[in-house]
Symmetry: C2
Subunit: 271 residues, 2 copies
Amino acid sequence: MKKAALSGKIQTTTSAATQSKMNILLTNDDGIYSEGIKALYEALKSLGDVTIVAPDTERSAVGHGITLTDPLRVKSVYRSNKFFGYATTGTPADCVKLAIRALLKTEPELIISGINLGPNTGYSVLYSGTVSGATEGALLGIPSFAISLATFENPDYRYAAQFAKKLAGAIIANKGLPQGTLLNVNVPAHKGKRIKGIKIVRQSKVAIEERFDKREDPHKHTYYWLTGEIVSSDGQDADIEAIRKDYVSITPIHCDMTDYDFMEELKRWKF
Amino acid sequence: MKKAALSGKIQTTTSAATQSKMNILLTNDDGIYSEGIKALYEALKSLGDVTIVAPDTERSAVGHGITLTDPLRVKSVYRSNKFFGYATTGTPADCVKLAIRALLKTEPELIISGINLGPNTGYSVLYSGTVSGATEGALLGIPSFAISLATFENPDYRYAAQFAKKLAGAIIANKGLPQGTLLNVNVPAHKGKRIKGIKIVRQSKVAIEERFDKREDPHKHTYYWLTGEIVSSDGQDADIEAIRKDYVSITPIHCDMTDYDFMEELKRWKF
């Protein structure tokens, strides 16, 4: 595995930076047959050699799950009679691990997870399979970002796909991302002039108002179905509000979850 | 949903603090039939009314996954002819949501997830179902901790169970935890005098050295199986090294994953 350079940045290799073609890995959690990953592939292929390793079916809200108790299988997927990518029986995190550790001959310079159908903002970042694909990339020392379109209906991925291409260029131009940090990008559903710009924002700390539908199946057995929605936001400097105001939101996310502020207080507790 | 008090702490209610019995919710990711959750139940029941809502089978390494595309089912589980708890078809995070939103009449004052068979240290925190049970509790505004025994073989949960009881008392005595923060506890496998004490430590930033076993099934199809181990540690002030030195490790974990340090640099990028 390539380690981060001493500067604390994950550097792309000099040869890659000067090559006309860079290696890019794509994954997602909506599955390899989704339109979101196809739009991303079409937009990115002019930048380099793009490989897709993605779940064979939808794996939404899997969090940063990985598959330990079952084997993983891989098959080649074709679209319009051309090789499109590898479908696996695993989660997005599994896909990235498999790509780097077993499938790819050359380590990618960039990993992109998406384009997700639906936003990944606030605490949903913790549940998101899309984000976890990029998290796995960051853990493996490769510059990575997740990109989501903030709508569930009538999606048009073109703007988001072009923005992904632009962001890929910016990451390369800035020589990567800090070790263990990824970018979480959300793009408003509106297109063209209605998108007002880009905001670098923190993750919102807003809980989803959840409830369970309690139902009865045809055999008179009870079952529960989770439902809920984000009903509030917590400030202009956070992802949920940026999207509501028609900005593209970019939130740097890191994998050290230690609450350093509380550590000192906890050291004074008596056990 | 109960909100955190204005002080920024999740307060237990006055009535609960003065009651002789407090309400405690237990969950885990090894499943309701595991020995770890039974040991926890036996140790905690003298502290209050303990309710178990746990997966019906092992859900390890599910990360902070939740179940959106399938319904959840719940059944009562008996051990030694006595009601023991509720088993669900969901993940640990699902179990906590279901308990709070649908099954329990009274909101618990404390949620404990474990005792896990095997450690949850370093970046494994991101993959851990055990930790995600406590994370869900913290997101719902209830003081929560995860507890794991740092062995995979010949586990003796008694010391860890007694430590969980002690920590539950400390959390109540200190009037809860900050909103959105949980504790991640790891207990060395050794018992008695060999445990040297308690260390409040950060999450290690050590990658697991992973690889895939590539195999062939009886039908000549290829499959991959993930394996790997932690081979290094990154300092005395982190969880992996504390456990190696025979200390109980306690790491405060929060749910805001924003990399604030990198935000300012990112604002200077040109897109």
